[in-house]
Symmetry: C2
Subunit: 352 residues, 2 copies
DNA sequence: AGAATTTATCGTAGCGCTATTATGGGCGCA
DNA sequence: TGCGCCCATAATAGCGCTACGATAAATTCT
């Protein structure tokens, strides 16, 4: 059990031996060479059934757990995918990460998670550590990154996937949808419901570039549609929460007394706006129509049920996984297939 | 040509060289030995300021990114913490993971994420892969695990922290709170509001043991309090969503016509119940009082604002991080300090 | 049958880094 | 002036595994 550390000068150098069972042990027990064990673990079909069985038995007898760290070093690429999102607390990204993790786990890939908190410098630091793991791929959120981040990634040669946004030039590959188009869809929908004084309620738009793009897409569509339409963009500097939604609606009503339609950059904000309307006795959708974004858990069930734009976070996760796995299997997508548009869907419910 | 290699093994084997800049390159440029670079990276104070500066310059000139895989192999323990939660989509765990990730990142530790989806076998598989990374610690959710999982972890010698639950015998360390006590608190609160026909609305309780424990704590407290109190536990087999909350409330009213108080195993369920009451014109809290669990984003802002029990997921994250970091710094907590009770707080609002 | 393949298995050199011991030069103290 | 001691730095031996070629054995082709 324990080694006395006092009277041992036998061997030239004592090195901490921690790993209990190594591939070598398995090989000995199975009476094959370590290479064969390694081969069996990676491509079971390449070894004879007899040897395979013997190895499998040895593995289970010894309770062998492969050391992926050593494997990653030897193979010069570890079975890890690094994912960097602004915040996992955000239900959008939670969904994507969850799907992605599940898809990758099925192929034996691990997910390493990082939160940039919408900070480019923080993101760069995360990318740096991510690359320290020689990951099979790096997944980032959005297309806006510091030049340092881009350089690091380009120099590394690791496949990079930017998700949740398309419409710019990706570092390598991109999976997502156009945020200006989402804003435009929301505007068109409100205008189709006779909206004439409309507003976009967003949060943290100074940092959340994607929300800002939805807002500008919204404003542009409103401007394009008709000149007798007034349109405002209202930002809450803090996080996108239900409470922020209530505050934003109050501010919107103050600025635009005849407000008749709002689009929110997040369903949580929309829910807060809905609550605020309820408090003030404002009828939704008769007096004010509300469009959200995200189609979160509660959006179909709230009162009134929320018209919202569904970005399909799980589809993004699936597509990202597909690209990563294709890359691992040697198929490197080229040209237009390096950018995947997952689109968006406007789900019409009672709030408009 | 060059195929003649029978009796001369002069030419060393060609190995794919992928890493662009290694520690060796840095050492050369800085005119010190690789050991010194390594030492500088790990304990900057141990090298002379002159050498340190030289090394720092070399690192930035070359754009050196340390290879943590190699480091992990040499050090026999990687700078990785593996976290396994049922689902990151659940706002509770998202909060904890987010906090934990931030705290650990500050100390240079990476988070590897896995989702068990409330399955013990799936959890065991995740633990197995987790251990392949020789992680600095493994974090699990709850105290219920397969015997295989327990064995694997015990045999590995890796620090293990079980979070979000205490009250049983942890594998190694635990940070969380007592779920039966949460249920009891909810029951006491409802009873203090003159509740006489109360119910616990839960989801997925066949798999979510912690929710089940809250339910049984609730029922026991109700039974203990008075015999003229009727108490039911109602389960929805699917996920804990707002919609499930509406369904559960409907079922509760069917089973208990004079229902006057409910506790929900999750604020989403509570919100659904609130919506259903609104739809049916049932006054909350006058006719039915509602207690939630989680104190989610919307709980303070909904109508009526939700009385709920706050489990402080971020505090759990912080404490878990503290234990892990203590372990890394060599301080191994012993005895009672291996179990940390983060408690719970009942936040009284308008719904009761 | 002998040559030319194919197939299954083995031997071994690192992957890039850290831990440990070894070394040498500067310093205090007598 | 000399002795030991400490501190900064260097040398060295792996960590456990995979890739790459080599080798032996089995198979097919002339």
């Amino acid at each position: 059990m324990e080694a006395d550390s006092s009277l041992q000068d036998r061997v030239p150098r004592k090195r901490r031996k921690m790993q209990r069972v190594t591939m070598m042990d398995v090989a000995k027990l199975a009476q094959v060479s370590p290479s064969t064990v390694s081969l069996y673990l990676r491509k079971p079909a390449a070894v004879s059934p007899a040897a395979g069985q013997e190895i499998a038995r040895a593995i289970s007898t010894l309770g062998y757990v492969p050391n992926l760290v050593a494997g990653g070093l030897a193979a010069a690429s570890s079975k890890v995918v690094s994912i960097i999102v602004p915040s996992i607390r955000n239900a959008f990204f939670a969904e994507t990460v969850s799907t992605l993790q599940a898809e990758l786990a099925a192929e034996g890939l691990q997910v390493i998670l990082g939160h940039s908190e919408y900070g480019e410098d923080q993101e760069e630091a995360l990318v740096r550590t991510a690359l320290s793991w020689a990951p099979a791929a790096v997944v980032l959120t959005g297309l806006s990154h510091s030049t340092g981040t881009r350089k690091l990634l380009q120099a590394s040669g690791v496949p990079v996937i930017e998700m949740w946004e398309i419409g710019g030039k990706p570092i390598d590959m991109a999976v997502g949808f156009s945020h200006p188009q989402v804003g435009a869809s929301a505007a068109r929908h409100l205008l189709s419901k006779e909206g004439r004084s409309i507003a976009f309620l967003g949060a943290r738009m100074q940092e959340d570039h994607r929300a800002a793009k939805r807002a500008s897409g919204f404003a542009e569509e409103a401007k394009r549609a008709a000149e007798h339409v007034t349109c405002e963009i209202i930002n809450h500097p803090g996080a996108a929460t239900v409470e922020a939604g209530s505050l934003l609606l109050s501010r919107a009503l103050q600025q635009i007394p005849d407000l008749d339609g709002i689009a929110c950059s997040n369903d949580l904000i929309a829910l807060g706006a809905l609550f605020e309307c309820q408090r003030r006795g404002i009828d939704v959708p008769d007096r004010i129509a509300v469009v959200g974004f995200g189609d979160l858990d509660f959006s179909a069930s709230c009162i009134p049920s929320l018209t919202t734009i569904r970005p399909s976070g799980d589809l993004i996760g699936k597509e990202v996984a597909r690209l990563i796995l294709a890359g691992i299997h040697g198929e490197h997508p080229t040209g237009a297939s390096r950018i995947i548009d997952t689109g968006h869907v406007l789900v019409e419910r009672r709030s408009t």
